[in-house]
Each structure stands twice: as structure tokens, then as C-alpha cells.
């Protein structure tokens, strides 16, 4: 089952490699991983999307928590939470028909065309993984995808709950 883990850790050199190393060392799965410093520059916030049964997930959470640099880890999957991912996709826009279609689909999904080339459009879209997949499918039916980049998901619990020190 897919799980979203939010991790708060020291923003130290080598912290990321410890997490990534742990996942490979213990044969845990990583579907996506995002990391960046938080509003407090001494901290990094990481979101990992992973897969595994309850027993594996219990081990992942415990093993990550055991790393000295990790301050907190929480599995937000079962709580009310927000999950967002950024997609940049470059598609062929050779003629009026494909340009119209790409624009229309982008509007429907509330994306933005953020760059145009001679024969290409670059589109930006945010949403959860499912929405991004649906958007890509829709585009593929109308035009050719030249390049795509996804950020991997970031997540946060809804409401008053917060992952802080």
C-alpha cells in the first residue's frame, strides 16, 4: 500500500544520504522523495512516498526515526492531509488543432502554459499524483509528450496538526 511519510530533520551535510542509504540498505521502496530547507533554515523537510505492508511500514518509520539527524517522522496517509506534486511537461504544438487541444486540456485541469517554443508548449500543473496522471493521459491522446518532469509529492496534515519541533 502507498504511504506518505513526512520527515523533519537537521539540515546538515550528509543527512539526505543517510535517509537514501537506509532505504537501499534495508530494501525499502522509494516511489518519490522531495527535500528542501524549511522556514527554519536549520531544518529540512522531506516527503517520501513509499510502498509496503504494515510490518514494513512500521520498520521504515522506526528505522528513519533512529537516524540521529531525524527529529520527527509521521505517516500522514491515514489522516486528513494535503498532497501536492508539481509537473512540468513539454508537448508538441505543431498546428492550430494541437495548440487548441493542449490549451483546452490545460484549462480543464487548471494548469498553466508557462513557455512556448516554435513547435512546443511547456505546461505547469500541480495536484495529487492521480490528477497529474490523468492530465498526462489526456495530453497523450491529443499530442506528443516530448519531456516531462515531476517533483514527487509533498504532503502536510490538514487542520491544526503540525510537524514542528
Amino acid at each position: 500500500m502507498r504511504r506518505i511519510l513526512a520527515i523533519l530533520m537537521e539540515n546538515e551535510p550528509g543527512s539526505l544520504s543517510r535517509i537514501v542509504g537506509l532505504f537501499s540498505q534495508r530494501a525499502f521502496n522509494i516511489e518519490s522523495l522531495t527535500v528542501a530547507p524549511t522556514d527554519d533554515n536549520s531544518l529540512s523537510r522531506m516527503t517520501i512516498a513509499t510502498k509496503g505492508d504494515d510490518k514494513v511500514l512500521e520498520q521504515i518509520v522506526k528505522q528513519v526515526n533512529k537516524l540521529i539527524d531525524v527529529i520527527k517522522i509521521t505517516d500522514i496517509t491515514d489522516r486528513k492531509h494535503i498532497e501536492r506534486e508539481l509537473l512540468l511537461v513539454k508537448v508538441t504544438a505543431m498546428n492550430d488543432k494541437s495548440r487548441t487541444e493542449v490549451t483546452r486540456i490545460t484549462d480543464i485541469f487548471r494548469g498553466n502554459i508557462i513557455d512556448i517554443g516554435k513547435h512546443v508548449y511547456t505546461v505547469q500543473l500541480t495536484g495529487d499524483a492521480e490528477k497529474l496522471n490523468a492530465f498526462i493521459n489526456a495530453l497523450q491522446n491529443e499530442t506528443e509528450i516530448i519531456e516531462s518532469a515531476r517533483s514527487g509529492c509533498v504532503g502536510m496534515a490538514r487542520g491544526d496538526q503540525a510537524l514542528r519541533i
Binding site: 540521529i68 531525524v70 527529529i71
Partner: protein, 575 residues
Amino acid sequence: MTTELFTGAEMVVKSLSALKVKYIFGYPGGSVLDIYDAIFQQDEIEHILVRHEQAATHMADGYTRATGEVGVVLATSGPGATNCVTGIATAYMDSIPMVVLAGQVATSLIGNDAFQETDIVGCTRPIIKHSFSCRSLADIPVAISKAFYIASTGRPGPVVVELPKDILIPQNKGPFNIETDIKIRSYNPNIKGHPKQIKKAAQTISNAKRLVVYSGGGIVLSDASELLTKLVETLKAPITNTLMGLGGISGTHKQFIGMLGMHGSLEANKSMANADVILALGARFDDRVTNNVEKFCPNATIVHVDIDPTSISKTINAHIPIVGLVDVVMQQLLDELTDINFSPDEAALSQWWQQINLWRNVKSISYEQDENEKIKPQRVVEALYKITEGDAYVCSDVGQHQMFAAQYYPFAKPRQWINSGGAGTMGFGLPAAMGVKLAFPDKHVICITGDGSIQMNIQELSTCSQYKLPVVIVTLNNRSLGMVRQWQDMVYGGRHSSSYMESLPDFVKVAEAYGHVGIQIDSLDELEEKLTQAFNIKDRLVFVDVMVDEKEHVYPMQIRTGAIDEMWLKKGVKS
């Protein structure tokens, strides 16, 4: 007023001094020459020069296992540091606190494939508790004091501190401050067990009809053997120890039913399999204990006490997990048992002991010695027990001799039995014994080893000469890699692929070449006399080479893929 300024190398030594370090085990090289120069100019800390960095780690490790003090290793960058990797892994697997100071090329050269550059922090990442990469003078005391704190608290383990050359050299100086009262916001190991869990555990234990206490290395590491003995005597239940936990309770205690696991006693494994409650204390349900986890103790309620949450429910699901220091939790349990006026169910207990005694009567830890035949290795260990009156520090290498030592030398005290249980590192025994001898020069320190293992760090005989470390090395020489050979006999149709040692040296001459005493024992009638002779030589290292029966197997032995108590009792005889 001017502040006194120090070089990074001086800061390293001053930091270790502030942390009351007595010995550094190491080997010099380019990137750490400044530290060696600083060591030379003081006399608070003694440096022990080994002959290979791996031995420095094992020697520090042995010193730590015997004393409880954090061992310190110093190695140069590149190969010096990578030679430490096996020793770090060994310490990691057995949760031994250790601080490894590894040199590194100058910061300006890092990443350039410079001479003797290795990413040692990267190399060791999966086998350390934590690591620090110092990049400035001010980092040095902070990293070293944090390294000691992390290594020795919670579940102990090795910590690597990387020290680049340019922050050690005399040209760079800075003020020295060290904080020994450490707080790390992201690291707060649990100490006390959760009171609710303690209550639950006490209740479960009170209601048990067939309770077994299963204790491991955690008891030894936290010096909790007195408390364990008190708890076990209160419960009146049988107790089994893991390989790492031997000595946690006296090996001659009447409630002790032996080691459990792959080469454990039948009564220990049977008791576990038939228990209704298992109280696991500082043990981690290792695969060498459980055998097939699918068949593991199906009727038991498991109370699992461990400092490391990841050890709980990793292989075997714990019904009542308790995270905390094992000594603190045992005291909480004892208090709770007093509060609920615990008294064991005597009828159930007597029935349980009757059953256990039937298993005991099988005498699974036994062997047959024909007086006219070759010496059985078990007999050697028994003779050692007799001659040292059970009071020696016994360090072992890895293989058959390790199991024979564990089975036939009942350890009275914790820290008396020193072996590489988790990693199974051949070559561990001699340097570990040297570390113990350094700490306890007046005690008998034995290295029980094999003709395979001893050759993995035999160069340390030279270090023993230099520092006058008269350990007694007893090689159970079967002219083969015994444990490998046993598996080949049992599982691989007797095909002894690469398990012979066809060009063994004359160990007596090897010992003599290093300035030690060598004794060879060929027949049973001279065994005790010559061993006694060896222990009577107090001021020199004695290397005793005992020719033992190469056909002997270690029994009992769990049957692969079976339950914990499915065992071979001897060749062709199942439990």
C-alpha cells in the same frame, strides 16, 4: 588577556583527554601525522600501535567489552580508514560503543581522487550509529564530544569522526572549548518503560504457566546482571541466554537452562517452543535464535524489552513491547510485581520445571571422548574451565571453537565472554583479547581460536611483544575450516570445497619468531599438564596449538527451516 590557541591536532588530543580516554588504538599515516605529533608531546593518553588497522578496531572493541569504556581508534585516510571497516561493522552488529577518528585529505582536495583519499563517511554509513565530517577547527571538540555521547548512550554503537589534514596542521590555530554535557535535539533515547506497558507485562507474567526469560547482550552492555538475577529468582522461571548474553546470569545458576538458538541446548530451545509467555530482555530475536520465524513459538505471548524500537517486532511480533533501558525496565517490573503482590503459581511452576528437567536429562550438550583417540575440541574447553577455575576472560574467534567455548565454559559474570556474535568476524579473537589484557593485566585472558581464524590477524603477535600482552592463545587446530567443513558434511554431500588448510605454518615456531612461547599438544594425556604449564607462564604470551579431531561437529544444531526446537542432537539423531 589573550586566549591560548591550539592546533586541530592538539584539540583532538585535548578533547580525548577531557573525555578521560586512557588509550588510543591506531596506526599512523600521512593525514594524521599531526595528531601523532600531538600524542607524542603529552603523556595522559597512551597510543597502542597495532600492525593492521582492523586489529586496532577489534582491540578497542575488546577493551570496551571488558571495561564498558568507549574504545578509541585512530587511522589515517584511505586504506587506513577502510581497514577499519570490518572492525566497525563488528562493533555495530554487537552494539559496542566506539569512536573511530579517521584522517582525511585536505578539504581543498576532497573529491579530487587525491592520494589516500577515500570517502570513509560514505563507506561506513550503513555500519555506524552516526558520523561527523569536521571541516573547521571549531568542529573538532564538538564532533568528538558528541561522538562519545552518541556512541555510549541509547543503543550503543560506533561513531566515525572524519578529520581532514588542513584543520590539523600547525599553521591553523584556534581557541579550544569543549562541552561535555551534551544535548542533541534530534536524539533523545527512551530510558524508562511506559508505565502502562509495565503493568501489562507484570500481569501477563503473573498469569503465566510456562514462563521463559530470554536475555541477550543488552544485559551485559547495561551491567544489569545483578538485577536480572534478582528478577529471575523472583519469578523462579527458567532463563536462557543468547550467545551475546552469556554471563548475564551465572552459567552455573540452577535456573539457567543454557544458551538458545542454532547451537543452543535442547532444554533452552524446547522451553522457548513450549512457553506460554516469553520475557525477552535486551535480545533481538536474531535469525540464529529463531530458526524459521513462521514456526516460532506459536503459543507464546511475547513481552519484548529493548532500548531500540527497531528491534521490536522486526522479526517476531511482540505482544507487549517496552522501549527503555533494560536495567531501568527490570527495576520497574520488579517494583510492579511487588505492588501486585506477585507470587508464582507454584503448581504450574513445578510442572513446568519437571518438563524442563526431562529435556535437560537428554544432555544435549555432550560429546564422546575415546581416551585413545584424538583430542575432542570440547575437552580442551572443559580443561580450560577447570584450570582457570572459570575465572578467565574468554575471547573467541568465529567458527566451531566459538560454539564449543560458548557451550562448555559456563561464564559466571558478564563481560567475561567476548566474541563477535552478530557480524561473525574471523580474526576478532586475538586483538580483542589484547584489548582485554591491556585493561586487566592480572587476569587470565584466553583467546580460543581456530587454525583458520588465528591467521586472519596473526600479525598482532608483534603488537603483543611490543606492549607485553601475555594472553594465552589456544588454537583448536583441526587443519580445516571446521564450521565450513561441518556444513559441507551436512548440506553439501561431504564435498570439502576450499575448507582445508593445506599449508599450515608451524604455530610454535611462529610464536617463537615473535618472541613468545609456543606449545604444541598432540595427545589427550598431555592436555591438562601442558595447558597448566601455559597458564603458569605469567609474563609471556603463550601460543598453545592443540591438535583436535577434525571430524568433530558442533551439536546440537537446529535443523534448517525447522522450528526453534527442531534439532540434530548428534549425527543422524533428531530431537
